[in-house]
Symmetry: D2
Subunit: 160 residues, 4 copies
């Protein structure tokens, strides 16, 4: 997933390619209360599946909810898209992978895939998150903590 299906690939100011996306995965099983009368995961629940991947990402790379809240920022979802390829059923194992793609903007561009226990793609999508201050004001410039994170990313961050 080095090339995003959803986000445009950018180049850095000096023309070099942007750093490869950072990736984290989590495995879970479909819960009974997530399954609808058609015996498949209700389509809206995938927003929480994607969030599971973001949480795993945050823990692996030090960019979790608290790591952003402490310096004074929250990152609400501005846009969500989900593409449904195949259903998941009760108690089915799945792997949710989130990949953060490099962006010059003050935003977090995550792409996701959900695969079943045999590795077949069932769902994919993306989210775009903005930075807000705790007072709820939109932040147009990249916050310092995010700049530091990007510097580590550029230098080959592989997890904390």
């Amino acid at each position: 997933m080095t090339i995003s299906r959803y986000f445009k690939t950018a180049v850095l100011g000096d023309g070099t390619p942007v750093p490869a996306p950072l990736v984290a995965s989590v495995t879970r099983f479909v819960r009974f209360n997530e399954v609808d009368p058609l015996n498949v995961v209700w389509h809206g629940h995938y927003a929480s599946y994607f969030e599971d991947a973001r949480v795993a990402f945050g823990e692996r790379y030090g960019l979790g909810y608290q790591a952003m809240y402490d310096p004074g920022f929250v990152t609400p979802v501005k846009q969500l898209q989900i593409d449904y390829e195949a259903p998941l059923r009760f108690n089915q194992e799945c792997v949710i992978t989130g990949s953060l793609f490099w962006s010059e903007a003050a935003r977090l561009n995550f792409e996701y895939t959900v695969t079943d226990g045999e590795g077949r793609l069932t769902t994919r999508g993306y989210t775009v998150q903005l930075f807000l201050t705790l007072a709820g004001e939109l932040v147009y410039a990249r916050p310092d903590f995010y700049e530091a994170f990007r510097a580590r990313w550029k230098n080959g961050l592989t997890g904390i």
Copy 2:
């Protein structure tokens, strides 16, 4: 529902009966994402149905979330019980009724019924809520705002 199935009926200090319960109802329809593979409302969702009745109650009698938060209190649920009599299905109409029973303790004792569009009982239950300060400390004595509410209740409160 003047006599509770769940709460003991008390008498006031002077031996007179306690004020009758205060009652509020709300009508809703079963949502698709609330229905499980057996084509009935998943049992856990009734906690939110009961909450719908509490919210309607709060609005009717001036005892809502904000009316308690403003003077510095929250009222988390300490105990929940749900008794399932009959299922509800997708898009079925139902009426959720919450009744606050008088208590001398610093707590809110709500009893609930859920009836279908024909008035048949489908679900019943109760919650017990405690008073906590915003700092999270348990409050053993009835807060002033609740005392004022009880005074109005005793005097025949019928809604605001």
Copy 3:
């Protein structure tokens, strides 16, 4: 919302404009359990808000879950997009509007808006639904019941 932000406007075979979208709305209030630690509706819940509009639409125009299930079809969501403009808070009133846009394909193209009690846009988005047989097979041609529905639409359907 005659012109969609999301779907391309088509013309009929004879070059005339397609019928205007069919529209249905529903009013609801934000439930306590839909609100997240940031005191706003958790972003994933809007999928269910959109579904509320689809259900209202189905009832108004005779294209609900059962009306499609009876002749042998279900219409799972193939793609969902949500654009978040402003937050909604606990107990806030909102109006969810779903508009079905004409399509020549065997699919349902719904666009949604969510506005708050003052009419301000808070959220918008769309879904694309496919037709599947009850056995789960994708249907490429428009089913008969849907053809009949489109004929009524062309002739000025305004609800049943």
Copy 4:
């Protein structure tokens, strides 16, 4: 938890003690969308936590949803009680334990505890489940598959 807080201890027909409860546990982390504006897990979500334990139990002992569905039975929850002792917060680890207590009746009596990462009890409760045929008829006698399960239980079942 050999002695239940909720269920009466019975003796077998010959006066010997009933078999000890069967126990299964599952570890999970609190998800962001489960947390309410008070920064704690919304009280209704514990019904799904208990269900997680039942699923783990079903897998360990061969008494899962499918193992009961295949011979023609479902086991809807007839009664649920939850006692809240302490809150859980976002991303907090917890262990959910479900214990099936012996009963002579055609029902499943599960008791649950939820403990946090340090082993402190946060929540407890129970469910009572009945046996229904797939046609929805209440079953008063213990089904054969359940009798076989009980025989294994009596003989020291420790998981499959």
